[in-house]
Amino acid sequence: MILHHVQTSALNDNALAVCLRFCAPQDSIVLSSDAVIALLDQQWLNKLKPFNIMALADDVAARGLTEKHLAASSIAINLISMNEFVAQSLTHQKVITW
């Protein structure tokens, strides 16, 4: 069980695409920094849907994104703090930063 960590926007970088190519069904993905923008894009949301998705709450809030914006995403997104990110790093077997 892997925690995949993506930091860059899927519109600029292949990190999220490559991560999704090799993500196993039981894995989780945490989106941080510009990677949270994928939550606004239906194409990426469809690809994220099968997985347990988390996003750093501070990065979402920093970009002016609110519950309202994310409500349209139609997938369950856990907004987590940095403390929870650390806890998740330990409940998963390893963290891969893409």
Binding site: V18, R21, A24, K94, I96
Partner: protein, 118 residues
Amino acid sequence: MKHICVVFRHAPFGATSSREGIDFALLSASFEQQLCLVFTDEAVLHLLADQQPELAGSKDYVSVFKAFDLYDIEHVLVCETSLQRFGLTLEDLAISAQLASSTVITEQLQQADEVLVF
């Protein structure tokens, strides 16, 4: 000893991350870690024969790939999807590598103790 998987996902020479990833991989192997290298997306282009990195202002860090055996790096996986996307086959590559489906690479990532992406 740990089982370390190093994934390359960037094109050659446009950025220095692959070169620094190779440095890390070779050093890990010399520290007797168990290494597996994965080339995916544009990074598969690192394995093409007849590259001339100097023309792009880069040090030739791709010739060393031929010496992976000397470093006991036996597992070099090339993402099949990526090769196909660029119209390439194993015959186009300068080194002998294993053609790997996404499923095989996913399993490698699960099995490794740590995975570093460059």
